[in-house]
């Protein structure tokens, strides 16, 4: 079955592009989740949907509209959540739902040619050759920057005041994180859809943090989990003709629940051993 699946070039393209996106998103996720920025990923994907809808309405090249809009929004959202804790949350929710609403209006105004479902939940059929090349290139660049600036991102995430006091330009690394997140969301949206892409960012980090206790091992486990869940979800969706994006998210969910249970068992066992 696997070899039959891999005989379709568009499936291989989507699989490779998706793997790159998954690894990039999972690495960014570790820092975003630890900095309590997970909602930003969610907000950005909705903004991305709004931008996609408007580009469909105006018959513009989707990437050319979505990429700049999402990058600008990333900086705006980051600025808002940095300012005030409680106000930031509601601002992000307002921006998300407004963008979603504008997107839905634009898509329905654009007419029958636009597939709302593919925008919201992704579709591997919509991944063109160019799309997958862009997705792979952007994700590879993200993974590369993450590795090069790994220690700086770690330090900025763990203790921004200390990092800044010792001469690390924390502002620059926070901006880098925002920029990379925006790019990964835009390129990943075609496969996973706007409503599901943020799970690629949040799930791997959340799962890795249940199982690991060091930053390095959390990062590696997150990337590994992302690869595993993507391949498993992809194969399941092919085997049972299920929607790809939703299948991948469902696999993440099962792994998350298993990891939570494993963690509770470990804690219980430890308590029993040391009363």
């Amino acid at each position: 079955m696997i070899s039959e699946m891999l005989s379709y070039p568009f499936i291989v393209r989507a699989l490779l592009a998706g793997l790159f996106v998954s690894v990039a998103a999972s690495l960014l996720g570790v820092s975003l989740v630890l900095r309590r920025f997970s909602m930003i990923g969610d907000g950005l994907s909705h903004v991305g949907f709004g931008a996609l809808g408007i580009s469909a309405l105006l018959s513009l090249q989707p990437m050319a509209v979505t990429i700049p809009v999402v990058i600008v929004s990333a900086f705006v959202l980051l600025h808002i959540s940095g300012k005030s804790r409680s106000g930031g949350d509601s601002a992000i929710a307002l921006i998300s739902s407004s963008a979603l609403a504008l997107g839905v209006i634009a898509v329905s105004a654009a007419g029958v040619n636009t597939d709302l479902n593919a925008f919201l939940f992704g579709s591997i059929l919509s991944v063109s050759r160019t799309d997958s090349l862009i997705a792979a290139a952007v994700s590879a660049a993200t993974i590369f920057s993450y590795l090069v600036f790994y220690h700086q991102i770690y330090s900025t995430t763990f203790d921004p005041s200390f990092a800044k006091a010792t001469g690390i330009s924390t502002g620059r690394y926070t901006s880098l994180l925002a920029l990379l997140t925006a790019l990964v969301i835009v390129v990943g949206m075609r496969i996973l859809g706007s409503l599901l892409i943020s799970s690629l960012i949040i799930f791997p980090a959340a799962i890795a943090m249940k199982l690991m206790r060091r930053y390095a091992t959390v990062s590696i486990a997150a990337a590994a989990e992302a690869v595993l869940a993507f391949i498993a979800g992809f194969v399941l969706s092919y085997a049972f003709s299920l929607p790809t994006g939703a299948s991948i998210v469902a696999v993440h969910m099962v792994i998350y629940l298993t990891a939570s249970a494993a963690r509770s068992i470990i804690i219980l066992a430890r308590e029993r051993r040391a009363p």
Partner: protein
């Protein structure tokens, strides 16, 4: 030799002055305690000395081979994410990240230095332990090790004994005393009168609209010093 000097400073946020016409200096080998009520500008003072906030007026001059980025800062633990997955070694090494010129990773000399600092602080057997699973005192010693990775000359501690029990606090003070004796200059913001009374050489007391800066003996003879002693129940 003077390491840090501030002349006629006005400190505050967003144009709002909290402390004005403040002058102070910290010499090599000094032990300075910064005391004062909540809201008197201690945190602003810390941020300004570290260069996180610019003074509204006046300049802070770093000399004697000290650069602004080479201060060993030990922040309040409350500012650090306690549930952060990280090993003691990862935390400690990050102290020298701003100093080295490597593109990636840490040199073996830096790793050796981290190990020897952790060893001297009694953390040698905990290097791969997870920061979030340490006791408060061990967390504080890990952060101290990180601060020592960032500096050769000056430690700046922001309420290091907050949240520690008295015994752990006095262990920390004794480590600091030894570090000071070995030539490291210490600046410490504190609510605790003991280090001010026992270890400090110089006191900076910030209060709403006024301040005291001078040797410990002169401080405890002054009105502000007597008031502080009285509030801490040490007036007899």
């Amino acid at each position: 030799m003077t390491l840090i000097e501030g002349k006629d400073l006005t400190l505050g946020y967003e144009g709002q002055g909290i402390i004005s016409s403040l002058s102070f200096s910290v010499g090599e080998g000094d032990y300075l305690c910064i005391v004062g009520e909540n809201g008197s500008g201690k945190s602003t003072f810390v941020k300004t000395v570290l260069g996180l906030v610019e003074p509204l007026r006046g300049d802070i001059i770093y000399s004697g081979g000290l650069r602004r980025n080479a201060i060993g800062y030990l922040p309040q633990v409350s500012g650090i994410q306690r549930d952060f997955p990280s090993s003691v070694m990862e935390v400690t090494l990050s102290g020298c990240l701003g100093r080295h010129r490597r593109l990636f990773g840490y040199s073996s000399a830096e790793k050796q230095r981290a190990l020897s600092i952790l060893g001297s602080l009694g953390m040698g057997d905990r290097i791969s332990a997870s920061f979030q699973e340490l006791s408060g005192g061990q967390q504080q010693r890990t952060l101290l090790a990180r601060a020592l990775m960032a500096t050769e000359k000056l430690l700046f501690l922001d309420e290091p004994s907050a949240g520690l029990d008295p015994r752990t606090s006095s262990e920390l003070y004794s480590i600091l005393r030894d570090l000071n004796a070995s030539g490291i200059t210490i600046m410490m913001v504190t609510h605790d009168i003991h280090p001010a009374l026992n270890d400090a050489r110089t006191i900076l007391h910030l209060s709403h609209g006024r301040y005291f800066f001078g040797p410990k003996e002169a401080y405890f003879a002054s009105d502000m010093g007597k008031e502080f002693l009285k509030e801490a129940g040490h007036d007899k």
